[in-house]
């Protein structure tokens, strides 16, 4: 069962002007990051995106995730520079049947008849967090009040003294 995504994050994901990247790891533990403009949220609350190339590293790493229950990460950056991190695992890949063929036709309508489609990927979301700098700073400095350079705590008369 996929974790519930907030409306704010769903809107960020479904905004075509957002930047969307997917990070996966290989069986050797090597990270791989790639943009995924096709990323959306499906009716069951899962992340859905397309992999065009059957032999790509992302494709291999997503198979690794579904086979061995490994995490993947997704980052969404909205046009107003808000950033959201989503962690999850590959739930399913679709490479045949009506849903696949509809996606294949749509890809070719958008990108041209010489473009292939390997698979549709569905991702189960396990956790989300906002990664916008100001939001993260507030969370982290509140929970770790003494992880700070001491000059920031000094009285102004000493901090800014000549």
């Amino acid at each position: 069962m996929s974790n519930q995504l907030s409306k704010e994050i769903i809107d960020a994901i479904n905004n075509p002007d957002s930047i969307k990247v997917v990070a996966t790891i290989s069986k050797e533990g090597i990270p791989h990051v790639t943009p995924k403009g096709s990323l959306t949220v499906d009716e069951n609350g899962r992340i859905r995106f397309l992999e065009l190339l059957e032999k790509s590293q992302t494709q291999k790493n997503l198979v690794y995730s579904i086979w061995f229950d490994k995490y993947i990460a997704i980052n969404i950056i909205t046009p107003d520079r808000k950033s959201y991190l989503i962690k999850g695992k590959a739930y399913k890949t679709i490479n045949s049947g009506k849903e696949f063929i509809d996606a294949y036709v749509a890809v070719q309508e958008k990108k041209g008849k010489d473009i292939d489609l390997s698979s549709i990927w569905l991702i189960d979301v396990e956790s989300t967090s906002e990664q916008t700098f100001l939001a993260r700073r507030e969370v982290l400095e509140t929970s770790n009040p003494y992880e700070i350079h001491v000059d920031r705590l000094a009285k102004d008369e000493y901090r800014y003294a000549n």
């Binding site: 290989s26 579904i66 086979w67 045949s96 049947g97 009506k98 063929i101």
Partner: protein
């Protein structure tokens, strides 16, 4: 006909799937489940069959003992996009099959009440509902799996001319005997062309084809007529493609080098398979007597090496029917002995550039080996892992016969990460 006897005690005699998954953490659990489902077969509950819609799904119909027909899905796709190639009627087993049931509104594989995996039914291609101008249903001309189509150029296998010469595990050969001398033994080329024209209209449906059928030994030299039929069919298929070569595979009797060269030069064929079937010479002679009389084990291997010269490394493979080398009374007495010999021959083949695969032995009710029991899950996992590692060691890619292009070869299905 002697059928398999169900063994109520079978679970006590072998390790469970949970134990095997724990024993081989380097293999994906879903791949082990796939192997076990191929080994044990599946059975569809009424709830699962209620989800079957023959306007959408591929359906198989088979005759029950009471003379009625049962309609079931052609087969299943797993969450990782790989395909089980199992149907109820061909997977009768001495062990309990997995149940295909509906739980929490999902179609799932179940064993002893435990849900193992979500599955989906195969959908049929659009051409399946059409007919050629000769009135032939197109689904009888070209068959389909989710991403692959297939043709059977000939139905009767000449090794079954004399029943004792047929391969002892083979159900296809024995059921093909009824086509001997019949006009519909060979595929019609006009039907092929017309069906191909319909097939390529559907976007995103297929990534490859395999042609395979009964062996034809006749002609000016051995298998010359078989070669010519494959050339004719491939040329008929090629009329719909704009490129000289297109993703394709045939699985035939082992042709000699001159025949292989003609096949490569005169058609769009890209890859070649001829199955050695049994990786031990003496057992090959016992299990495949007709083949052994026509082409010795050594000659079959040589022809595979020649095929690598013609088609290239990574474009030729061979398989064994895994488990038949343990058949009684003449087979290996232990699984360890069988695996040792299998890996020895596998190394020899791979060192010459021949990709290796195995097909899990389904003990068919109409095969000569009916009533026997296929090996343990542990044997199948060891074989899968071993062949995968040998292919890797020799730099052999599984692409020509991958999970998309076949689905029945567990070791090749692993070549995705």
């Amino acid at each position: 006909m002697a059928g398999l006897q169900y063994d109520q005690e079978w679970r006590k005699k072998e390790e469970s799937i949970e134990e095997i998954i724990k024993k081989y953490p380097e293999l994906p659990p879903i791949a082990i489940l796939e192997i076990d489902a191929h080994r044990r077969g599946v059975f569809y509950t009424d709830a699962a069959l209620e989800r079957l819609d023959d306007s959408i799904h591929q359906v198989t119909e088979y005759k029950l003992r009471d003379g009625t027909f049962r309609k079931v899905p052609a087969s299943l796709t797993l969450r990782d996009g790989s395909h089980l190639v199992v149907s109820e009627d061909t997977t009768k087993t001495a062990r309990d099959p997995y149940l295909v049931d509906v739980v929490d509104n999902k179609i799932v594989l179940v064993d002893q009440g435990k849900v193992y995996e979500e599955v989906s039914f195969w959908e049929k291609p659009k051409f399946f509902d059409k007919f050629t101008s000769r009135g032939t249903p197109m689904k009888n001309v070209i068959q389909a799996r989710p991403q692959r189509y297939s043709l059977q150029p000939s139905k009767f296998c000449h090794f079954w001319e004399c029943a004792k010469d047929g391969c002892k595990y083979c159900s296809i050969g024995s059921s093909g005997v009824k086509y001997h001398g019949k006009p519909d033994d060979l595929i019609n080329l006009q039907d092929v062309e017309e069906t191909m024209r319909e097939l390529v209209k559907e976007p995103g449906r297929f990534v490859g084809v395999i042609l395979t059928g009964g062996s034809i030994l006749s002609g000016p030299k051995l298998c010359e007529d078989e070669l010519q039929i494959y050339i004719d069919v491939l040329q008929a298929m090629g009329t719909v493609f704009k490129t000289k070569k297109w993703p394709s595979q045939i699985n035939t009797t082992a042709f000699d080098k001159e025949q292989l060269q003609r096949l490569y030069d005169q058609t769009g064929l890209t890859s070649y398979t001829t199955d050695l079937e049994v990786f031990d010479d003496e057992l090959y002679q016992w299990i495949c007597p007709g083949k052994a009389k026509a082409i010795s084990h050594e000659e079959w291997k040589k022809r595979l090496f020649d095929a690598v010269d013609v088609f290239g490394k990574g474009y030729v493979d061979t398989g064994l029917v895994s488990g038949v080398e343990l058949a009684s009374p003449n087979g290996f007495k232990t699984e360890a002995e069988a695996l040792k010999k299998d890996f020895e021959t596998a190394e020899e083949m791979a060192s010459h550039g021949v990709l290796l695969k195995h097909d899990i032995w389904h003990v068919g009710d109409n095969s000569i080996f009916r009533g026997q029991l296929n090996p343990s899950l542990d044997y199948y996992v060891q074989l899968t892992k071993g062949l995968y590692e040998i292919n890797k060691k020799y730099g052999l890619s599984a692409d020509m016969d991958s999970y998309r292009k076949c689905g029945m070869h567990p070791n090749l299905n692993l070549d995705r990460i």
